[in-house]
């Protein structure tokens, strides 16, 4: 399916989706979705015979500091059946940086969302285990935000005895 045809089909299946201009995206199919319809739209895109996006290849975010809404969460979808790709973007603002989790649709979202939370501080509502992934629990700030200073130092973390103190952070996840 050509990107144009794919975009048409996706918009027909998910009316909330807005296709983005192909030129700026270098001929790749990209749609923007409101976060309210996200999980429902993902389930449709995964299960419908014309799209069959079985894999969430990657999930990340981009910080457009100075723009409102500030963040864009980016999902790279891939279909093994039809061999086509789709990029889905969801805009969220800093004050309310929360997106419903896609981990119920694709399991690859489990760690990808943890990393995104770690790096950008975007929360994923409904995620079963939203902890920091690459950084440690005592890390302050979210380093891939554009306003995180490059030379920022981190406070020392008190030494922890792994035997007497539990080896997992509290169940609610790192703050």
């Amino acid at each position: 399916m050509t990107p144009e045809a794919l975009l048409e089909r996706v918009v027909a299946l998910v009316p909330a989706a807005t296709p983005l201009p192909l030129v700026e995206m270098r001929g790749q199919a990209v749609v923007r979705l409101p976060r309210e319809h996200l999980v429902e739209a993902f389930t449709t895109l995964r299960d419908h015979a014309d799209t069959r996006f079985e894999q969430l290849m990657d999930l990340t975010a981009v910080d457009y500091l100075g723009r409102t809404p500030r963040f864009e969460v980016v999902y790279q979808l891939h279909s093994l059946t039809h061999r086509h790709r789709l990029r889905v973007k969801v805009s969220v603002d800093e004050a309310d940086a929360e997106v419903p989790t896609a981990s119920g649709v694709w399991r690859s979202a489990l760690w990808a969302e943890r990393e995104c939370f770690d790096m950008f501080g975007i929360r994923f509502a409904g995620h079963p285990d939203l902890r920091r992934l690459l950084l440690y629990a005592g890390f302050e700030g979210h380093p891939l935000r554009k306003d995180y200073p490059l030379m920022q130092r981190q406070p020392l973390v008190p030494e922890r005895d792994p035997i007497t103190q539990p080896w997992l952070p509290p169940a609610g996840g790192a703050r």
């Binding site: 030129v23 700026e24 995206m25 270098r26 790749q28 079985e54 894999q55 969430l56 290849m57 990657d58 990340t60 981009v62 910080d63 980016v74 790279q76 093994l80 061999r83 790709r85 990029r87 694709w106 399991r107 690859s108 489990l110 760690w111 990808a112 990393e115 790096m119 992934l133 690459l134 950084l135 440690y136 380093p143 891939l144 995180y148 490059l150 792994p162 080896w167 997992l168």
Partner: protein, 404 residues
């Protein structure tokens, strides 16, 4: 397998449940290559639950790239997967070129294929050699390192460096292949094929090896797809997805090669898929060398490619061009792109956002082994402690790529 499922299975086998013991394996465990921690909960020797902790090698690659020009990112891209730096180099170059709308000359595309496939063999040899020696087949491990050494000599002849190659350039490659490349490759592949045949005889029907690998770390096709696995891990489950075939890039559609697949999705299949892939990679290199056309190795576009040194030193235009490119960087038109290539461990993707200035606005790598590590917990629950080593070995986690 989930934690409750393991507990149910344990309760079925025995009358009373054993005491749960918490053990931290790692971060620097002698039997795991790579800095990683497994927080294990054990009932006897059975893994009831495991929490995999990564991030010990996090260097802030993505943040670093935002601070430098596009050209400056190439050395960093090398150091993502240091078992196959050329593949990363090429993947990053392809992504930036797609964003800039550059089409590289045909000869460059062939050179990139040749480098990439040699690198892929190195990557697989590292994975399998280490994996074999970790479970006791240390001589097979050494043989494979010997083969890798032969290939590193090739890499050195092409790029001038063995590991930190920085060979890719925006719009081309650093320099041309050596003149006797075909001859060197032929000689090297004779050795590699001999060593691979030796290793196959040592391992493939070896009772101990087979017992440790077959039926261990099993993950079915549907689960593997849902976990976002690609590369040998996915192909071992029987799904023939290879980016080189599914979404051909460079000149991969001109070569005759096969995509080996497994059936069970266990460690043995992952091992065999990688063994078969090395043979296919050598076939691709031989075909590419036979078809290799003449021509330039860089695009002729002063907006993106550094001028030759004699122009820089002898003409004001060359000097200015050099100065602007080095200080301000290549002005890539605003936009964004996701480019996927087949890395050593699976789909290696770069998602780039440019705002039109000389620096990347956002660089995101899709590291293939990251998703393998995410799925590792599911592969391990219900297995034995000793199976951690083989399964982890076949995921082929490369710290530089997984933690970035």
């Amino acid at each position: 397998m989930s934690e409750p499922a393991v507990r149910t299975a344990l309760a079925r086998d025995r009358h009373e449940p054993g005491e749960i013991m918490a053990i931290q394996m790692g971060p620097s465990h002698p039997a795991s290559h790579g800095t990683i921690k497994f927080n294990l909960k054990l009932d006897g020797e059975t893994i009831v639950d495991v929490d995999v902790e990564i991030g010990y090698l996090h260097r802030g690659f993505e943040k670093m790239c935002e601070q430098f020009t596009w050209n400056h990112c190439f050395p960093y891209a090398d150091r993502l997967n240091y078992a196959s730096p050329l593949l990363n180099n090429v993947a990053f170059a392809l992504a930036v070129e797609k964003l800039a709308g550059i089409e590289v000359p045909e000869r460059t595309q062939y050179i990139r294929v040749i480098c990439g496939e040699i690198s892929r063999i190195c990557d697989h040899l590292t994975c399998l050699g280490m994996g074999a020696s970790e479970i006791g087949a240390i001589s097979a491990g050494f043989y494979m390192i010997e083969a890798r050494e032969v290939l590193y000599d090739l890499v050195e002849a092409i790029t001038g460096a063995r590991l930190t190659v920085t060979y890719g350039r925006l719009g081309g490659v650093m320099k041309d292949l050596p003149e006797d490349m075909a001859e060197r490759c032929r000689a090297a592949f004779v050795q590699v094929r001999r060593i691979l045949a030796d290793c196959e005889r040592l391992l493939v029907r070896n009772r101990i090896f087979v017992d440790r690998m077959v039926g261990v770390g099993v993950m079915g096709r549907d689960e593997a797809i849902s976990w976002g696995l690609t590369g040998p891990l996915l192909r071992a489950t029987g799904e023939p997805y290879d980016v080189r075939k599914a979404h051909p890039y460079l000149v991969y559609d001109r070569f005759d090669f096969e995509v080996p697949t497994g059936t069970r999705g266990d460690n043995y299949d992952r091992f065999m898929v990688r063994m078969a892939e090395m043979q296919q990679s050598m076939r691709i290199v031989e075909q590419a060398l036979a078809q290799l056309p003449d021509g330039p190795i860089r695009v002729d576009d002063p907006r993106f490619v550094l001028p030759p040194k004699d122009q820089v030193y002898n003409s004001i235009e060359g000097l200015m061009n050099h100065f602007k490119l080095v200080i301000e960087g290549q002005k890539i038109p605003a936009g964004e792109v996701y480019v996927a290539t087949e890395g050593g461990n699976g789909e290696l993707g770069f998602y780039l956002v440019s705002d039109g200035s000389g620096r990347p606005y956002r660089v995101r790598v899709r590291p293939p082994c990251f998703y393998g590590m995410a799925a590792l917990g599911d592969m391990l629950r219900g297995a034995m402690v000793a199976d951690v080593i083989t399964t982890f070995g076949q995921i082929n986690m490369i710290g530089g790529e997984c933690d970035r």
